[in-house]
Symmetry: C2
Subunit: 325 residues, 2 copies
Amino acid sequence: MHVLITGAAGMIGRKLSARLVKDGQLNGQKIDRLTLIDVVAPEKPTGFGGAAELSASDLSSPGAAAKAIAGKPDVIFHLAGVVSGEAETDFDKGYRVNLDGTRALLEEVRAAGYKPKVVFTSSIAVYGAPFPASIADEFQLTPLTSYGTQKAICELLLADYNRRGILEGVGIRLPTICVRPGKPNNAASGFFSGIIREPLAGQEALLPVSESVRHTHASPRSAVGFLIHAAGLTREQLGPRINLAMPGVSCTVGEQIDALRRVAGDKVAARIRRHPDELVQRIVSGWAERLDAKRARDLGFKAEANFDDIVRAHIEDELGGKIAN
Amino acid sequence: MHVLITGAAGMIGRKLSARLVKDGQLNGQKIDRLTLIDVVAPEKPTGFGGAAELSASDLSSPGAAAKAIAGKPDVIFHLAGVVSGEAETDFDKGYRVNLDGTRALLEEVRAAGYKPKVVFTSSIAVYGAPFPASIADEFQLTPLTSYGTQKAICELLLADYNRRGILEGVGIRLPTICVRPGKPNNAASGFFSGIIREPLAGQEALLPVSESVRHTHASPRSAVGFLIHAAGLTREQLGPRINLAMPGVSCTVGEQIDALRRVAGDKVAARIRRHPDELVQRIVSGWAERLDAKRARDLGFKAEANFDDIVRAHIEDELGGKIAN
C-alpha cells in the first residue's frame, strides 16, 4: 500500500502521517510506501520502516502534480490548500492553489489511467448564511468566501471524476478543528481553540464574541479518524453523492467554557477574559452553527460525544495529560 | 448601452438578439452597440440601427475572452457552451469550453476593472436524482453529468466574483426549452419538443417514454424573457444567492399530448407514435421533474401558465399561426 498525503506538513497532515505510521496499515493493507508533499518539505514521520519520499512542491506548479502521483499511490489524501484568510486576501493564489492545484492532481490521475482512492478535505465553509437551525445533508452550497467557493468547486470536480470512474473519490467537509494546537493566530476562528488551549497552558485567552455564539467542532484526533474512515468506504457505500458533512459537537461558547471548567477546574476557566470584537462577531455570525451530518454518521464517521471529550483529547494528545495550575 | 452575447448563433442567442433589436433598449437604456460572438460567426440581426460586431471566437482560446470584452459591454449575456451530450462524450472539450471559457471571461472582466452585469445561463442539469417531489431553492447541486458539473462550477465562480464586487452576476437555471424549433436531434430530451413540433408540422413523431414521465418546460420565448428580466435585477434584489432556478410548466408527457390535442385537434395529436426506448427512459428518469422556483417567481420571472400556452407560443413564433392539417 502506497499512500500520498498532500499538505503533509500542516497540522492535520502531520497527525495523519503519524497515525498511519503508528497503525502500519490502511484498509487492512500494510503501508510500505509514504509520499509526503507540501509547499515546505514535510519531516519524515518517526518510526516508519517503509520507503518515505518527502518533497517540497506546489501542486499548481507545472509538472508538480504529475510528479506527485508518478509512483501511482493507492490512496491519496489531498489536504493541501491555502487557508481561508489567505484565499480571501490573495484572490489569485487562492484559486491557483485551491482550485488549479486540485484540478491538476485530478487530471494527472486521469492521465495516469489508474483508479486511486482520493480523499479530499473540504470544509463547512462551503455553506453560507442564512442557515436553517440545523443544516441537512441536502442543503445547498452558497459559500461566502473564496475559500469556500474553491472547496465547493473541487467537490463538484471530484464527484464528476468519481462518476466517470476515473478515481474513487470522497470529500469530507470538516467542521472547525478544535482544540488546534500551537500558537494563537489571527484567524477569526482562532478564539474557539484559544479559549481552551491558552488557559490549559496557564495563559490568559481573549474571548471576542458573546457566550451565546454556537458553532460545530471536532478534535484533530477526530479529523484524522474521519480521513482514515473515508479511505475505507466503498463506491457502493457512498453512492453518487460522495461529498459529506462530517459530524461534530455543536455547542455554544458558554458550553465550551463550562466543559473546560468541568474538566480542568475553575482556576483554569477563569483565565478567559471577555474582550468583545465586533469584526470577529460579524464574521462568525455568517458561519454554520449546526449540521445534521446524518449520512456521515450512518456511514460510521465518529466525532466526540460532547465538548468535554474535545477538551480531554487535547490534554491527552498535546499536553501529555498535564494541566497548568 | 453596449450588449455582448456569447453563444449568439445558438437558438436562444438568435432569439435574444432579435428581441433586443426589436425592443431597441434594455433596462430603459437605448442599445447602440451589439457584440455577438459564437464559435461560428453569428448573423447580423435584421433591423439593428446601431453598431454590430460579429465574430467567430472560442472564449477558451488564448486572447479570445479579452477581445470579447475589449469594448467594455455594459451587459454580458453569457450563453456560450458545449451542450450536455457533447460535454459527456468529449471530457476535455466540455471542461475547456464550459468551465475554462467562462472562467476566462470572468477573469478578463476582473482585469478590465469595470463592473458589467453578467447574465449566465445555467441549467437544471445542476441537480441530480434522487429528488424530492418538488425541488426547493435550497436544494443541493449534485449533478450527474459533466455538463451539469460545469454549470454548477460556473455558478459558484459567478457568485464569488459577484460577492467580491468584480461584476454584477446572475445565473439562471433554465428548464428544458420546449418547443425547440428546427430539426429533430439525437438529444435524449429531444422528444419533449419533437412530439409537439413534428405533429404540428404534419410529421409523425416518436415517443420513447411512458406518458407518465413528468418534466419541467419553458418556451424559447420565456427563456428570452428570463434573460432580459435577469439583466434588470439589482444587487439588492438578488442578495448573495444569485443563482436561481427558473419557473416553468411541470407536466407529464400525457399532459403535453392532451394540451396539443386541445390546441391543435385530434388529427395532429394522432401523429405521435409510441416507440419505447429503454435507454432514453433511463436517462430521463434521472432528471428533475418539478422545481419550486419560488425565489425566481418572487423576483418577477414569468413562465407560461400551462402547456397549452407553450404549444400556442410555438405556433405563433415558429409557424406563423398555421398548423399543418
